[in-house]
Symmetry: C2
Subunit: 203 residues, 2 copies
């Protein structure tokens, strides 16, 4: 029997709904015999391609969204603290992700994903602050100096850029975004549809 | 014991997610001893206030949204046929709603809501076509000539305008939009949160 393909999961480290989805996606995939293939991207790139902006950029929607981030985390039983600065640029954290992914594999990249999301959304660690990011790398058991070298290196900058381009080419316009056997799902709130799709092979 | 307040439910007749939510909101409310207070509004007005556009106005998001409308209807077990024209202006259908609401009451307005949503989203009846709308009114058992007079009357135009202004003042920026005891919920996909909120009185 063939092993079913992993669920593709795109996220930005500054996206609260991605933080929430990252907390449930592995268990959901495992319930259906699947793995997860993570893709750290930059919402700035996909927003530009889709002519969109962050939900907190709009009048009325801003206030609702800020409250909904926290309520959606509570709904999943997750800790959540409004970060001291939001949204933030996350290219360095994303380059660390790809550096780990390519040099140590999927599991190391997934561990970093959990560590970085948890740091930003529960302890207010600003991933765009180089010193704070370096300290977080050390705390996560990484070679912090090597991580810093990686996020400044043209090769890892290009790797992230290529992943953002590939995401846009695949139709990704926001985050979290998922793909199961070619079927796209956008948003933390598509969890029930994803679950049924995996259970029934479509609906 | 006091009767709990009804769930406020705002919608636009051209909104597919509103069509879906309209199909489940009464049963959900009834499970928790609540009624539903419907508000027909125009997304054009709330989009302008919130500087938003229809999801089908954006590159990448457009294609996804069109597929997600249909998938979200299937998820709820509802019939859905892509309308021959979308989105459409719905002010006349909304004015018929308020005319019924004020002259015949909540139940008559709810029956019209079901009739108009079903006509547009399952049979492609264009609610912006005066002749088609008049025929639909007759089919729904209304006095079609009186309905047409109402949707052309300044008083019912003003009634709808006031409801759109009130929605914006209440923080409504899209549809479907709900409010339960002051707590706002936006989107067909907030159904699970709404259900838990009603069951537990918050979370």
């Amino acid at each position: 029997m063939n092993t079913p393909a992993p669920i593709d999961f795109w996220f930005d480290f500054s996206s609260p709904y991605s933080y929430i989805a990252n907390a449930w996606v592995d268990a959901l995939a495992a319930r259906h015999g699947r793995g997860v293939r993570r893709h750290a991207i930059l919402l700035g790139a996909t927003f530009q391609a889709a002519e969109l902006k962050s939900p907190v950029s709009y009048p009325l929607k801003r206030e609702y969204s800020i409250a909904d981030f926290a309520r959606s985390a509570r709904f999943e039983g997750l800790p959540y603290a409004v970060p001291p600065s939001f949204p933030i640029p996350t290219q360095n954290a994303a380059r660390v992700f790809w550096w780990l992914r390519d040099t140590q594999g999927e599991d190391a990249a997934a561990r970093w994903t959990h560590a970085a999301f948890g740091a930003y959304f529960t302890r207010g660690v600003l991933l765009n602050d180089a010193a704070a990011l370096k300290a977080l790398c050390a705390e996560a058991g990484l070679d912090a100096a090597a991580a810093e070298t990686a996020w400044n290196e043209p090769a890892w900058k290009a790797r992230l850029k290529a992943e953002c381009d590939a995401a846009i080419a695949a139709g990704v316009f926001g985050a979290p975004f998922f793909q199961v056997d070619g079927e796209p799902f956008w948003g933390n709130d598509r969890k029930p549809q994803l679950e049924r799709w995996l259970a029934q092979g479509g609906f």
